[in-house]
């Protein structure tokens, strides 16, 4: 099997989806001849033509609104927003239309669209290019919010997102676009949505994370293993709706839970998981549920951003502290 980067896996999935289903349309700024600013759509316009791989005007609200109209007419649009910092004009469409089209028309019209966008900091990008505000999207009823963490999951989850009959926001970890490599067979096989993946079995502590920061979480698990602490690592993958079952089962086993996310702490998605664990698994907890997150600041620009991100060190320190509870 060929080894590809995460962004190449995205490209493979888009190509496969377009090949399999003539109703799939890719649209966004610079997605055509330029192949996208991260090259996620490279070569697609040549293969499928400018009508199915469509360079839109520079208008993010429009991209999301076009997706709603196309989807309600039976197309499968996959819109690209160049950076998550520019997704905010789309929120009106996501909240007021995409997520509720099925509900408000009682199934008469539906909205099988995907909105893709790079997610997160750590690439020394300019201001507004490093956002990680997945929690505000995960709050919207009727939406799906999905985030892969490897080339394999990018390929499988994106195919699933495109085939899903409901709207999906697909957040791609920018930091891993080229840093993550893996073997991906372009066989058209999707991975399940709404399911968390246990990346590593452990018995002492459950570590839950998603997207790029899983890299640090996995490294922390390695370091803890050298100290004799066995950490279970869960890739949440779908944040809305999230797989409570896998989380709760793991916490029941380990009795300890750390949630690691890059986004700011207050109202972050970690709070949601912590609340669920507290509500449902208090009896099995040996230690308080803990979050290792970005700080409640604006994500700093390049010179300070590494101090904002949850580091391996911060995760290890938090885990050690939890393991002192018996």
């Amino acid at each position: 099997m060929p080894e590809v980067t995460l962004v190449e896996a995205v490209n493979l999935a888009l190509g496969r989806a377009m090949e399999d289903d003539p109703s799939v349309v890719v649209l966004g700024e610079d997605v055509g001849i330029n192949g996208g600013v991260f090259r996620a759509t490279v070569g697609l316009q040549k293969r499928f033509g400018p009508e199915r791989v469509l360079d839109t005007p520079l208008a993010e609200l429009l991209i999301s609104g076009l997706c709603v109209g196309m989807a309600a007419q039976g197309l499968r649009p996959v819109g690209e927003i160049q950076f998550m910092g520019f997704i905010y004009p789309c929120l009106d469409q996501l909240v007021n239309h995409a997520s509720r089209m099925r509900n408000r028309t009682q199934g008469r019209l539906t909205c099988p669209m995907v909105l893709r966008t790079p997610h997160g900091a750590g690439i020394r990008a300019p201001e507004h290019h490093s956002e990680s505000t997945e929690a505000m999207l995960a709050h919207i009823p009727g939406l799906r919010v999905v985030m892969p963490s490897s080339p394999e999951s990018a390929y499988g989850l994106l195919l699933a997102a495109i085939r899903d009959p409901d709207p999906v926001v697909f957040l791609e970890p920018t930091r891993l676009y080229r840093a993550a490599k893996g073997e991906v067979e372009d066989n058209g096989e999707a991975l399940p949505l709404d399911r968390a993946f246990v990346l590593r079995d452990g018995r002492d502590i459950t570590m839950i994370s998603w997207g790029a920061v899983l890299k640090e979480t996995a490294a922390a698990a390695d370091a803890l293993s050298d100290e004799g602490i066995s950490a279970e690592v869960i890739d949440l993958a779908t944040l809305k709706p999230y797989d409570e079952d896998t989380v709760l089962r793991s916490v029941a086993k380990t009795g300890r839970c750390i949630i690691v996310h890059e986004a700011a702490r207050t109202g972050g998605f970690g709070a949601e998981i912590a609340a669920t664990v507290a509500e449902c698994s208090l009896a099995s907890l040996l230690a308080p549920v803990t979050r290792v997150t970005g700080y409640d600041t604006i994500i700093p620009m390049a010179r300070l951003e590494q101090h904002y991100m949850p580091s391996v060190d911060r995760i290890v320190t938090a885990a050690r502290k939890l393991c002192q509870f018996r």
């Binding site: 999301s64 997706c67 109209g69 239309h97 099925r102 019209l109 009959p165 709404d194 709706p241």
Partner: protein, 375 residues
């Protein structure tokens, strides 16, 4: 001194400006056939000289007015939620909808009841919607039509997306997007029109300019002379029509929809009319406009205007009018009865169309909600 230099430069540049060639000029046409007294200003277009069409349009306008009256009465007696009347602007909806084919797609705003009714949506469904029941948007009539858009102007990008799908599949269908004057202040509408122009999409944008966006008058909405000229920036034709003249609205719609269907790209129609009533049943328009202004517009209202013409042509009589009123009221009463006797859905059904397949985590919430009775 710096100021002195700037002054002399500006004088110089003014002089140069006069010599610069004009590279583009634009104009906006205005369409009107029926004067407020019902007399004809110019020869009628073919479809509007057909008595059957005229009478159908007249009947639909009267139905909408009587329906509105009943809806307000229901709201005032606590049997309907907030409702948006179209008093004074009844010519727009049927004028536009009557030029559409069934397979076209309508994207209405919340005040376009008349267009939905023309397209076959049942009165009881409209009451259900305003009465707070989602089943009102699961309506009869063309199944691809969009539900009322309550946020202002956000349906315009949908219309462009719908039209793009038509173009991609080479289907001879047209998307018709209706919104009010306030919506033309929003980026959504411009973004959609701009895209539709760039791709020559089969879409017609219709702005019902009723002069007031709740309490904000048009002159505070824009300094444009017309809303129709906003199409020029998007690269296509904008036309202004007398929105209280249903024949003008209908003729403009026919022309625009035909052009769009024939692959000639989008059009924009500004229907200039007047909202004689409040914005909604929650509004009191007397707070922001004078009775004199409203009274002046009553003299131009669309129903009396068309009736005067029809009566003048011996196409309509007092007896016809009485029969029509009775018929409309009967139909409205039947719809009200149907609406009022429609039982609410079971509470847990709020989950039923949330996703195609309800994720287990929300299925648990559904069971919790159903807890009080046998699910």
């Amino acid at each position: 001194m710096g100021g002195g230099i700037a002054w002399s430069e500006s004088v110089a540049s003014n002089r140069t400006n006069q010599d610069l060639p004009v590279i583009a000029r634009f104009d906006v046409r205005y369409r009107n056939y029926l004067a407020p007294d019902g007399s004809i200003n110019r020869p009628l277009p073919a479809s509007a000289s057909d008595a059957k069409v005229l009478i159908a349009l007249y009947r639909s306008m009267v139905l909408v007015r009587l329906f509105d009256r009943k809806a307000v009465a229901l709201q005032r007696t606590g049997r309907l939620g907030t409702y948006a009347v179209s008093l004074g602007q009844e010519a727009v909806s049927p004028g536009i909808a009557s030029a559409m084919r069934e397979e076209d797609v309508l994207l209405p705003s919340y005040r376009d009841n008349g267009a939905l009714i023309w397209r076959g949506v049942k009165l009881e469904e409209i009451l259900l919607f305003w009465g707070g029941d989602e089943r009102g948007s699961h309506f009869s009539g063309p199944t691809n039509d969009f539900p009322f858009c309550v946020p202002v102007g956000s349906q315009a990008p949908h219309a462009a997306g719908v039209a793009y799908a038509f173009k991609l599949r080479k289907e001879p269908r047209v998307a018709v997007c209706m919104f009010g004057d306030g919506a033309t202040s929003k980026g959504d509408v411009y973004e959609a029109m701009n895209f539709a122009g760039a791709h020559k999409l089969p879409v017609v944008f219709v702005a019902t300019n009723n002069q007031w966006a709740i309490s904000v008058p048009l002159r505070l909405q824009t300094s444009c002379e017309t809303l129709a000229q906003k199409a020029i920036a998007a690269g296509f034709t904008g036309e202004q029509v007398d929105g209280s003249d249903v024949l003008a609205v209908r003729a403009a719609a026919e022309e625009a929809i035909t052009a769009a269907r024939d692959g000639n790209g989008p059009r924009f129609i500004e229907a200039v009319t007047y909202r004689l009533g409040d914005h909604t049943t929650s509004d009191d328009a007397s707070r922001y406009r004078s009775p004199d202004e409203v009274q002046a517009h009553w003299k131009k209202e669309p129903i009396a205007r068309l009736r005067a013409y029809l009566v003048g042509q011996k196409l309509w009589s007092k007896l016809d009018e009485e029969r029509l009123s009775a018929e409309c009221n009967e139909r409205i009463e039947a719809a009200v009865e149907h609406y009022l006797t429609t039982a609410p859905r079971r509470r847990e059904t709020m989950f039923d169309h949330l996703y195609a397949n309800l994720p287990e985590v929300y299925a648990a919430q559904r069971r919790e909600l159903a807890g009080g009775h046998d699910a």
